[in-house]
């Protein structure tokens, strides 16, 4: 694939993912808020705590999607994926996934006891590692980009 085609594809896919991420962030935040508003209707303590867990998870998800929207917006504008700002943002997403894998369960676990709930979400933990890994590969890409810019 030639350079302009790749850049064009990167830009168009970034725009699509930016829109999806932004919509997802809004939806996730709305669902989180709805979870919190629905707390009053629940009677037993266990259901309430589980609802809080879901709400916390949804809010963290909303922040992750918002950060992703910012990354893809930047790529869409500049057409350059390997920048320091994007590397930092990918690391922030990794940290948020890490929080998402433990914090919601800790919220419930602190109130109900850890034996009743799983502490680490395996999926979110996997995503965290994945994004940390991508941050390192992006750093390598950043070095190549700098080298390319200096050569030209």
């Amino acid at each position: 694939m030639i350079k302009s085609t790749v850049e064009e594809k990167i830009k168009s896919s970034s725009l699509a993912i930016m829109v999806i991420s932004a919509l997802g962030a809004l939806l996730s935040a709305a669902v989180g808020a709805a979870d919190l508003m629905g707390l009053g209707k629940l009677e037993d303590d266990f259901s309430k705590k589980m609802m809080i867990k879901t709400a916390v998870s949804n809010f963290i998800g909303a922040v992750i999607l918002a950060v992703a929207a910012v990354i893809f917006y930047r790529i869409f504008i500049s057409g350059r994926p390997f920048t320091h700002g994007n590397i930092m943002a990918v690391r922030v997403i990794a940290v948020l996934f890490l929080l998402n894998s433990a914090v919601p369960s800790l919220v419930v676990g602190a109130a109900l006891g850890f034996a009743k709930t799983s502490i680490i979400g395996a999926g979110a933990l996997f995503n965290a590692v994945l994004f940390f890994f991508f941050a390192e590969i992006m750093r390598y890409g950043n070095l190549l980009q700098t080298e390319s810019d200096e050569t030209l």
């Binding site: 997802g24 390192e136 750093r139 890409g141 390319s148």
Partner: protein
């Protein structure tokens, strides 16, 4: 950090991820994650002779999970052995992995809806979408790598 150090770091992380992935698969096989087992038990209780959608979604999750693990294994193996992360094979493996992630999330959501009558969507679909976008970013990296090699 220079290019060599970063490449070494990427290779090391790939090795660790590869081991973690194998451990995760083994834990899944021996049924370490009880949540997934309870879904299966629920499905057995609720399954009707005509519940084809559930069976198809379960089959899709199963086959895509296997294909995803094989692809991820090949990807990490390549990353831990190749001189650079930006190669055509790695781009294609990333794209395939992204597609598998999206199919798994959709099929899983359908399956959980049939079994538990609740909509539960995690951020796995988003990771798939990002992987797909990253496959394009890797193509850009491949071009930079080629440029860098030609300069040297």
């Amino acid at each position: 950090m220079d290019k060599k150090q970063l490449t070494r770091k990427i290779k090391r992380i790939s090795h660790i991820s590869l081991i973690a992935m194998v451990v995760y698969v083994v834990l899944n096989i021996i049924g370490f994650f009880p949540e997934k087992r309870s879904y299966m038990l629920n499905f057995k209780e609720h399954s009707l002779p005509g519940n084809i959608t559930g069976a198809i979604s379960l089959a899709a999750v199963f086959f895509c999970a296997i294909a995803g693990f094989v692809t991820a294994f090949m990807l990490l193996n390549d990353l831990s052995k190749k001189r650079t992360p930006f190669t055509l094979r790695i781009c294609n493996l990333l794209r395939n992995l992204g597609v598998y992630f999206i199919i798994i999330e959709i099929a899983k959501a359908v399956f959980i809806f049939i079994v538990c009558r609740e909509i539960r969507i995690e951020l796995f679909w988003f990771a798939g979408l990002v992987l797909y976008a990253f496959s394009l970013v890797f193509r850009h990296g491949k071009r930079l790598q080629k440029q860098s090699d030609e300069t040297l």
